[in-house]
């Protein structure tokens, strides 16, 4: 811990309700600094209480603006809210501009709200875990609701919201992104839809398109995602969205699906962690002997094929 305070002090402050400690624990987990797994170990038994909501949709749909309004509504209900706002990292520079919170400036000084921006940092599976860990920390810290907000343009972003109990998909009429959204697969994960900027042309058409998409699923489904209309910038339709998400939550609890989904997530989490550890172990062994580069040269020169190489390399580690 370079910024002062060993992990022990950090957790003491965390349980005392220090926002700085929450911020630093998220950093420790994100950067995998020494001792970070101890933090997660310690908080784990305190998680599972917060309502976790994923918010996704095309860029420019108004997710952050809507998130800002949703949070304000939750605050009127006396609920504390944590927000993990994920923005894409540039694949070229590795840097990112994390600008979601610019729409939530009113919330900055509200001590019942905690906003954390995260970049995707280019790792497909990794971000899903890191944002899930940030959510756990906010949950353990005592937040009643935790929102994960992310741009739904790729599989990794879709994975992020799979960590949520309820997923809200925000769409906008007329940008042509309705079809894009279908392609990205985010329509399949939506539990509640919001057509934002619904005063624009094309709102009705978009509504019909979503209904048609939902109709394509011929299986018997217990929950038919409702399609809400909002104008987030004018704070219109926000209460309807909140109520729809609450209904979904009740549905999950009553049908036992909440337990089932969370159990599935636990299975996935443990599986991913096992895979990650094994992968690291094997990769370390494979690349440590110096043979790796020699093999790469040979494969590149087409003197040997990669399948043979891999069999040989892995075979030495895993017997």
């Amino acid at each position: 811990m370079t910024k002062g305070g060993k992990p022990m002090d950090l957790m003491k402050e965390f349980w005392n309700g220090s926002r700085l400690a929450l911020a630093r624990s998220i950093s420790a987990v994100e950067n995998e600094t020494e001792g970070y797994t101890d933090i997660l170990r310690e908080v784990y038994s305190h998680t599972g209480n917060a309502q976790v909501i994923g918010i996704t949709g095309a860029p420019g749909a108004g997710k952050s603006t809507l998130t800002d309004k949703l949070v304000k509504y939750y605050r009127t209900q006396g609920k504390t809210v944590g927000i993990v706002a994920v923005d894409p990292t540039s694949p070229f520079s590795g840097g990112a501009i994390l600008g979601d919170r610019i729409r939530m400036n009113d919330l900055t000084l509200d001590t019942g709200v905690f906003i954390r921006s995260m970049g995707t940092r280019g790792s497909l599976g990794g971000l899903s875990k890191k944002s899930a860990d940030a959510v756990k920390l906010m949950d353990a810290f005592g937040m009643d609701v935790v929102l994960i907000e992310t741009v739904g343009v790729g599989q990794s972003e879709v994975d992020i919201v799979k960590n949520a109990d309820t997923t809200l998909v925000v769409l906008v009429p007329g940008l042509g992104d309705d079809i894009q959204a279908i392609k990205a697969g985010i329509l399949e994960i939506g539990d509640v839809f919001a057509i934002n900027k619904c005063d624009r042309d094309g709102a009705d058409r978009l509504n019909v398109e979503i209904e048609m998409m939902l109709d394509l699923n011929t299986e018997e489904v217990a929950w038919r995602p409702p399609i809400m209309r909002t104008i987030a910038s004018k704070n219109e339709g926000v209460e309807d969205v909140i109520n729809a998400m609450e209904e979904h939550r009740q549905h999950l609890i009553e049908t036992g699906e909440l337990e089932q989904r969370r159990r599935e997530r636990t299975v996935n989490e443990i599986t991913e962690m096992v895979k990650e550890q094994i992968s690291r172990y094997v990769m370390n062994k494979v690349t440590s002997t110096g043979e790796f580069d020699t093999y790469v040269d040979q494969v590149f020169a087409r003197k040997i094929d990669p399948y043979t190489v891999v069999e040989s390399l892995v075979g030495k580690v895993v017997k």
């Binding site: 002062g4 950093s27 990292t89 520079s93 840097g95 990112a96 501009i97 900055t108 970049g119």
Partner: protein, 132 residues
Amino acid sequence: MAEKLIRVIVAKPGLDGHDRGAKVVARALRDAGFEVIYTGLRQTPEQIAEAALSEDVDVVALSLLSGAHATLFPRVIELLKERGMDNVLVIGGGVIPEGDIPDLKAAGVQAVFTPGTPTSKIVEFINEHVKK
């Protein structure tokens, strides 16, 4: 251990409405591989300090063209210290007369980058001075 990225908040305190420079700097910092949190216009020092805290930034970069730097920059530093953020690098830029810079430095602003400074200098400074 995962790669630790440098996190910077680019903030505009006070009533100054000119953000082109701040956006140019934000983009340059992103291109240099940093994670940049840009909080927009008309931030109070309290908002900047709170955002810096929850985002656990390494650097607070303040942009000001309205002349209020002598009051607002030290105020931000004071608020950061109150929140226990002692190791944050605070830098400034904008319309800041050379003559004002020594006082700013005395207050804790570690560097001031005035108009015309290549953005690479800012990147260099951050890389050299952020504790890893």
